[in-house]
Symmetry: C2
Subunit: 212 residues, 2 copies
């Protein structure tokens, strides 16, 4: 499933932009995949893989995004990150400006290639998947309502990233809406602005940046 994956020890914290070395690798026995858009779990607490996420709603892509001004890792290798959300959560966000319970956000990381077919410049996405992570809102299950799961592949179960990990603190401090980086989702940011659902911390940071 992952031919040629070169960096299996890497986890990209969902939309946190920072690549960090995973502390929670797991053998990831394959279980039944979750049905479309509803988070489901194995007996050990792993998240079942969201099988049809490529048919969900696309939110955005970035390339080589990072907190750090200089590359922290793999300076000679570019990566795209694609973000998807389950359709029910998308519809709810478009109506309310925030996420409902059972929201499932998927981050898929792919290698970025330059030379291929007639392309000579810029980057296009490779068939190779280099990272896969899911951010789930499940209010009854997680004390902080949301949790991150890291996957070895989109077809294996995902392991819970412990709540003390940097993903959680970063998302809580800087994300625009309900601990999610809506400031990087071009179709959702205007909705959140119109609905008045932008987080106080985000608005404060934006005001400070604008006054510089």
């Amino acid at each position: 499933m992952f031919p040629g994956v070169r960096f299996t020890a890497i986890v990209v914290c969902l939309l946190s932009l920072a690549t960090v070395v995973s502390l929670c690798r797991h053998p990831g026995a394959i279980a039944h995949a979750a049905t479309a858009g509803v988070p489901a779990y194995a007996a050990n607490g792993d998240l079942l893989p969201p099988r049809d996420y490529r048919e969900w709603i696309y939110l955005t892509s970035g390339i080589d995004m990072s907190y750090a001004p200089k590359a922290m890792a793999m300076p000679d290798h570019s990566m795209f990150d694609n973000v998807f959300v389950n359709p029910a959560a998308w519809r709810s966000f478009m109506a309310t400006g925030t996420w409902p319970d059972k929201t499932v956000l998927v981050l898929e990381v792919r290698g970025a290639k330059t030379k291929g077919s007639i392309n000579q410049r810029g980057h296009f996405q490779d068939t190779e998947i280099m990272g896969f992570e899911v951010h789930v809102k499940d209010e009854a299950r997680f004390p902080g309502k949301w949790a991150f799961f890291d996957f070895d592949s989109p077809e294996k179960n995902g392991a819970l990233i412990p709540s003390g990990a940097p993903c959680y603190t970063c998302h809580a401090a800087h994300a625009a809406v309900d601990t999610t980086f809506v400031q990087f989702y071009p179709t959702l940011l205007p909705v959140a602005k119109a609905k008045g659902t932008l987080a106080a911390g985000y608005l404060k940071e934006e005001a400070a940046a604008g006054s510089k």
Copy 2:
């Protein structure tokens, strides 16, 4: 709809990678939008806008892709291109490895930003749309089965790009499947390989590149 659009005279030929100056601008009176995934036309032959394309199936994104080794235009400005297809055509491709009649492929071009919120490096997608183009397969309507349409915005009608334009000849010569650049769609290329639907011209080019 297009706040701050800086390059309204630019058309990006759908997945041809080359940006060319549009020769077919049109005032684009707004008409009723097409229903999901079915191409529909105004009386003058314009294509009605595919209103819900952001809820269609996402195929890929690229950044600054080009035939030319050096930037041909806007060297200081990066752009993402996002590609979507109507769900019925996606399902058909997954089953057959090629496109059915009434396939609608959408190319959305967005500005690429680096500094914003906590991001310091790489690029993320702006709310600003800088180009919009549609590739339609409508066998009974177009002598070559497919046609390209250029839009001033996703909400206005699109003008037919004449069949002699470089888009058509480039796609016919280099595209991997049925005049579409499936070689840049990471989830579809393996399907086309498995189904044996890769174009002879593409296979010949790949063989030549591999023997260098």
